[in-house]
Symmetry: C2
């Protein structure tokens, strides 16, 4: 199998790369060659047991997508995106990368022709949904709920889903779209993303550091660990798309948890000293942004197709302790 | 008011033009100037009581959209599109006109800047919906049902809706999208569109001509007369968009009728001799295409906002007799 990962330099891309190199196969099919692409050429992990190529590529630049797919890979995982906050701040760059980049990739595959029809795994997001939600947010969002994003990022992702369906229906690609939950616990340093605190209030205390909580404890949201997200990608890569019908994008299963439930899980795993590192500092701006985010989904289709979420928020915390902190607790 | 109609040369465009010129105003605001645009410069109706300019313009060509909006119109009605069958047959042309053309229009408006934020009425279609429908097609489709088109045309229209929402949210335009039902009775000659028979079995007998019916009598679909469609456009042009919230596109109300109900209405209005001109000639291809079309909607939002449909299918037939045949019946 010849595999291309676009956006391989990002957090999920690096974890996916590690998993692919460790397994050396996808659903029993050996990986012969792995191409890692990003705007800056991604680092090639040391000691890879198979051919790994690293490519610098700006999908939104003319001709770049054609060059990227010259090898006619069997599987393309498209993770490259301008993130939500940046797509909102830089309207043109968001559309260039998230819409035009995705379309140029699809067009490059279509133009290659010759019966080549690769599996394309496209990462969408729950940002395709916007309020009002069912039951004014009290009911889980079903698979047939309309996509009415309230950010430019969500708009661009929803457009990508539509293109993926049409290019798949026309036989140019064999697409699977997955709407990722908010990734938690996101490793690394605190950032200024509005969603950052959901990870921060777990990650920082687990490192013995203080974390700021800007919203109320009853705020509920929809989560998946990085480990679960990589699992979704691998499952999508091997899925029997004959089971999908015309609707190629699936809302991924996740864990619906309140901030209070996050904190309770942290306490069960790392004790009250960890919890004591969370400092409440209400921020009306963040509270307002978060108030329009969805809190729970009924991801029936994805569950029926074998996608599996983290068991609960405790599992999400444990995945972070195992994968990022070598199993060590701070206290 | 300075008004621009893009796609003014089409059937709905011409009827809208006639209505605008006859009224000379929209919701009490006098029209000072009307610009009619299409790929070929539309004919300017004789005796117009206000300034009318006709422009040839291919929205999909670079620079054309900028030139078109130089006047900074108060109202832009965007009707221009490659129709469903052609967008399916010519993949590239469909995307160029229906997606790129719409985006270039939005970009030209955004680029003009300077606080100009015109009302933009965008015509979408029930083609944004695809099966499986609620209750396997037995239940009306609600306003919050997802858009999963199964044609390239429907895909392009659904993408236009997303762009309209985002450009409106960002304050670049004041958009209203309307999803038109299948227009019936469509005037003119029979064409090869799969939906053509819905109009043909009424229009041809009303002209004393034979019509072919390729599907079963129990096939149900969703209709609006050309007169109702023009009414939707005018209502959208004057709508208080503060009532719309973030979701700028509305499914228009319509008449849900079976072929049998169409024929019964024809008989009530034009008698059994008209009905006798309908020749049943089953066509499995058309039957298959039509079987995935929606049959009824619960267009609650649009009704609450004052959009009004034809009263029933009799009204649709009468509108055709009045508007296209000078009130004359064939027998």
């Amino acid at each position: 199998m010849d595999v291309l990962v676009i956006g391989a330099g990002g957090m999920i891309g690096r974890k996916l790369t590690d998993r692919l190199l460790a397994a050396g196969e996808i659903a029993g099919r050996p990986i012969d060659r792995l191409t890692l692409a990003d705007v800056a050429a991604p680092a090639v992990p040391a000691g890879a047991g198979l051919a790994v190529e690293s490519v610098a590529c700006d999908l939104a630049a003319p001709g770049e997508a054609e060059r990227l797919v010259e090898r006619r890979h069997d599987l393309i995982v498209h993770l490259a995106a301008i993130v939500s906050g940046e797509a909102e701040a830089d309207f043109e760059r968001g559309y260039a990368v998230n819409l035009d980049g995705t379309r140029m990739l699809l067009e490059a595959i279509r133009a290659a022709g010759g019966g080549w029809r690769p599996r394309l795994v496209y990462t969408s997001s729950i940002a395709v949904f916007g309020p009002p939600f069912p039951g004014d947010g009290t009911l889980p969002i079903p698979d047939d709920f309309h996509t009415t994003p309230q950010t430019s990022y969500g708009t661009q992702k929803a457009i990508g889903e539509l293109l993926l369906d049409d290019y798949s229906r026309r036989g140019f690609v064999d697409g699977v779209g997955i709407r990722l939950p908010t990734i938690c616990v996101r490793p690394g340093k605190p950032n200024r993303a509005a969603s950052g605190f959901f990870s921060g209030i777990v990650r920082e205390p687990l490192a013995g550091l203080e974390a700021v909580l800007p919203v109320d404890d009853d705020v509920r949201h929809w989560f998946a660990s990085p480990r679960a997200a990589v699992g979704f990608l691998l499952h999508a890569a091997a899925l029997d798309t004959g089971l999908l019908g015309a609707r190629r994008t699936l809302t991924m299963p996740g864990v619906s948890a309140t901030v209070a439930e996050e904190i309770a899980a942290l306490e069960r795993i790392a004790g009250p000293k960890a919890v004591a590192l969370i400092r409440r500092e209400p921020d009306p701006t963040i509270r307002r942004i978060v108030s329009v985010w969805p809190s729970a989904f009924d991801a029936r289709r994805a569950l029926d197709l074998g996608f599996t979420a983290d068991a609960d928020f405790d599992a999400i915390v444990r995945a972070h302790v195992d994968d990022e902190r070598g199993g060590r607790l701070p206290f």
